[in-house]
Symmetry: C2
Amino acid sequence: MGQSLLEQAFEGKNKRIPVWFMRQAGRFLPEYRKIREKYSLGEMFRNPEIAAEVTCQPVDILGVDAAILFADILTLPAAMGFDVEFTPNNGPVIKNPIRTVRDLKKIHDLEGLEYLSKTIQIVNGELTKNVPLIGFAGSPFTVACYLIEGGSSSGFVKTLQLMHGAPAVFTSLMEKLTENTIEYLKLQKTAGAKVYQVFDSWAGILRAADYAHFVLPHLKKIFKEVKFPSIYYIRGAGHLLALADQLEADFLSVCHEVVLGHNPVLEKTKKGVQGNLFNGLFYADKKVLEKEINDVLLGARHYTRYIFNAGHGLLPDTDVEKVKLTIDVVRRFSWPVKGK
Amino acid sequence: MGQSLLEQAFEGKNKRIPVWFMRQAGRFLPEYRKIREKYSLGEMFRNPEIAAEVTCQPVDILGVDAAILFADILTLPAAMGFDVEFTPNNGPVIKNPIRTVRDLKKIHDLEGLEYLSKTIQIVNGELTKNVPLIGFAGSPFTVACYLIEGGSSSGFVKTLQLMHGAPAVFTSLMEKLTENTIEYLKLQKTAGAKVYQVFDSWAGILRAADYAHFVLPHLKKIFKEVKFPSIYYIRGAGHLLALADQLEADFLSVCHEVVLGHNPVLEKTKKGVQGNLFNGLFYADKKVLEKEINDVLLGARHYTRYIFNAGHGLLPDTDVEKVKLTIDVVRRFSWPVKGK
């Protein structure tokens, strides 16, 4: 057992609970903002030295149990021929979104990701063996939403229009994204990522029937073909959890909709569970926050394999001291639970 | 039983299923767009003749079984001293949002809603007794989101900040909104609304614990004090449905997250059920749409009291012919279900 606490958690052999945070490498850290003043987001992603430094910052500053690659879920489509601009406040903009079936033909296979492999190699050189690097990709559906809408959206009208109005075109886009996502994750594994997470931020907008038909088969393919420890994160989607449990992912990462210890799908799943402190609670005072962290941990005792995280990514104005407090509370929690 | 089909459905005495749509008075109707070319949204809301005409349009054009008052969920805070601008594309903007506890002091009780009463009176003069007018209000939480964010939002960061960072201030805002919502709905009843619906578009962003603590007590007060047939619409919130079932609302209106006939809360509720055709399905071809409508209706057979609606508001580019087809399919469906 020479591996890290996080990797041990995949086998249920960890002696305390591993903790990391989505968006732990980001704006809430003053050290990140200092770098961000000098470079655009696009420059930061594509410069291996800078991306590696930002990836390692939360490990050095907070003492989290894993690093997650500093990249964007649109790094993949950018390498497939989409013209992506990473704007700081309103989310990314895709200047050549998918509008018709002809736009699909312009998509090419992955190109120019040497900088990403290089970033991973630098990170692995800097991290100790106790702290693994988590690679990641957006789920094909979540990425498709961006590519169809041309950026962030609240109603996803164009996506629904394509899905239900031209289902063959939609599925063809999903297939192309899926193939490339598989290559993309394999590339990260080859470069040195030890675990990967697939982020499904927008699947929650779908009915179970649409998720089962248009999304699940593609995700199944990814988790079947990319064989290293894996986490599927699904947001705002308690109604899709039973379907998501069909995936071959090792862990399900759930948002605050789910109450740990009280969810019928998680009660029966053979997967590990990751989550799910509500990130709004970092605004509460420390006493309230501490109680809420303990509530999450008490719920987590029902599961054999568990990783602590927030339910969503950390918000840009999150108080660093409260994140440190959270890590302390998780560290002090008695684990593994006896007699489980 | 001189009342309408919709009112009969509240007693479970209806001989066919009543059907209406959220946002049925809106941009997808060419007749609406013609009026909209000449007036701003604010002008349309505040002019009783125009608002009444728009309210009645879907009854005349589509033949729906109810009219819903043409107003905005921010009509209420506008009457409480908030400076609301109804912008056409990006949702409303509040120019004096809630930032500190001092902003709460500037809120006053309802003023200047004579135009709304007048609109309701005109509508009632035009509608036959078979078609009742539905009044409505935003839920205090959903309205509070707008007032705190200053408009639409995707992350609701400021709302979470106030809720968890200054819970007493947040609750004080909720109390003021609740009192005025009660007055607002009573005013609509007095003017002639026969049914009311409370729209909770954003409650779904909350954990069950936060909804129970910060939202539910206020909603309970509204449905307890405003005594005429009532519907509570909650969106993206399957995880909150068991709590919502504690309200004294007569009907629960659910979005497409819920599968009718397969939901444990609706299985046991004593309330009626409204919903929930996925509005993205209006983009599908007619054969698919017809099958999906039938699936909703087959699920609805499990409930004694039922009203057909979409899961969300109709989208601006919805095909009018498909909405008419939907109404036809619902009309042809055999009801009441024998032996239920």
